[in-house]
Amino acid sequence: MSTDQLPEHPDFLWRNPEPKSSYDAVIVGGGGHGLATAYFLAKNHGMTNIAILEKGWLAGGNMARNTTIIRSNYLWDESAAIYEHALKLWEILPEELEYDFLFSQRGVMNLAHTLGDVRESIRRVGANKLNGVDAEWLDPEQVKELCPILNISDNIRYPVMGATYQPRAGIAKHDHVAWAFARKCDELGVDIIQNCEVTGFLKDGNRVVGVKTNRGTINTEKVGLCAAGHSSVLAEMAGFRLPIQSHPLQALVSELHEPVHPTVVMSNHVHVYVSQAHKGELVMGAGVDSYNGYGQRGSFHVIEHQMAAAVELFPIFARAHVLRTWGGIVDTTLDASPIVGLSPVENMFVNCGWGTGGFKGTPAAGLTFAHTIATGTPHKLNQPFALERFETGALIDEHGAAAVAH
């Protein structure tokens, strides 16, 4: 086909500059967290001589592979604070970034299937309310009212015994979120450098002074790691360890359907989470593969397991087809909470461990991590998530609210 029949390329949203020989700060990783960090460094701290180095293409990691669920109904004060701050930022970002990335506050339901689930859920609703996070406990009839396609009969392996519901939660279009941040970063002068893999660090004693890349050495005063599943690999290059294990996590979509699913439904117990994208595909998340993996692909039995549970909960899904499945590499921690703050290397900062659920945290991660990079000190919202907690024992155990779900 001759190219003159193609429509014109839409406006490019960012430049593709050559890397300079030095920057005031370098962000490793061009996913949501790297982009948001660079944006807030430029906007809030006036640091515009900075670069984002991305080994592949922008948002080609977990950023455009996630199931886009955004919520803040976590159990502990520290988590509620940072995730709720993120949610408040999501509410204003479309306007601030001048980009409608289809943030849709259609509510998120977390189903309870056992007495243990019910108790955990009711406790979490109480905790959420005390933290100013909107939360309700729904009985099965109310669940059905909000999401009529859910099977609430007693006659299934794990009947729906109720659900927590956060009305302000929802979904957004993840690739557009990345583009929105990228365009603003670029306008503010940030260099977004794709196809630029960090292969090592230059240090002066214990202080980082530069990064080595496949496109040459770049001097810099500060380095912020936003490499998600590859955080351990980068930390190892810099000479320290992180308490992180990388696992494949999968998701899938169906073909397009008429609108049938008005909200977002998640179940940790049977491991289903599903929403319907604006275009009409059913978007579902599966579980992690149990083993450590960097392959960006997972096993089909994990998909099969999730589908079986989904079809039992949503009988009409039996007629849908899987169109596409894919995997990302998620950086999990043992307390299911992220690690944000200083690192054992001077002037190097880490933002990682967001695991299976860091999309929702993107704006707050960026805002607080930018503060930490600019000032060299924790932000009050990310302070509890410092690496030291594994030594002090002040863990933030979010397995109930996070599980492997999002």
């Binding site: 230059l202 240090k203 002066d204 290059m237 308490p243 083993y291 450590n292 960097y294 096993s299």
Partner: protein, 105 residues
Amino acid sequence: MLLISCPNCGSRDETEFHYGGQAHVPYPENPAGLNDREWAEFLFYRDNTKGAFAERWLHSTGCRQWFNMLRDTVTYDIQAIYPMGTPRPATAAATSVIAPEGATK
């Protein structure tokens, strides 16, 4: 789905097994002597190798025995299976690990 060759039962589907994480992490010889940092290392820090990784597996729905495996965490290729308590085989070098380059200026 991995096809895993249990040393006792032969080739079986991965769904019969449970993953046990990094191999060769001994319980501290003198637990009372560890400081908080060392405890944290033992409890929470495990290698997260990109490339050949020695790990434990349990044939939970078969012989219920543990064994070790050397597996590439990028290709998922199983390179060796060997008994617990024996050293990691000196075979295949890491295929895809990026050599640490923490050069000091």
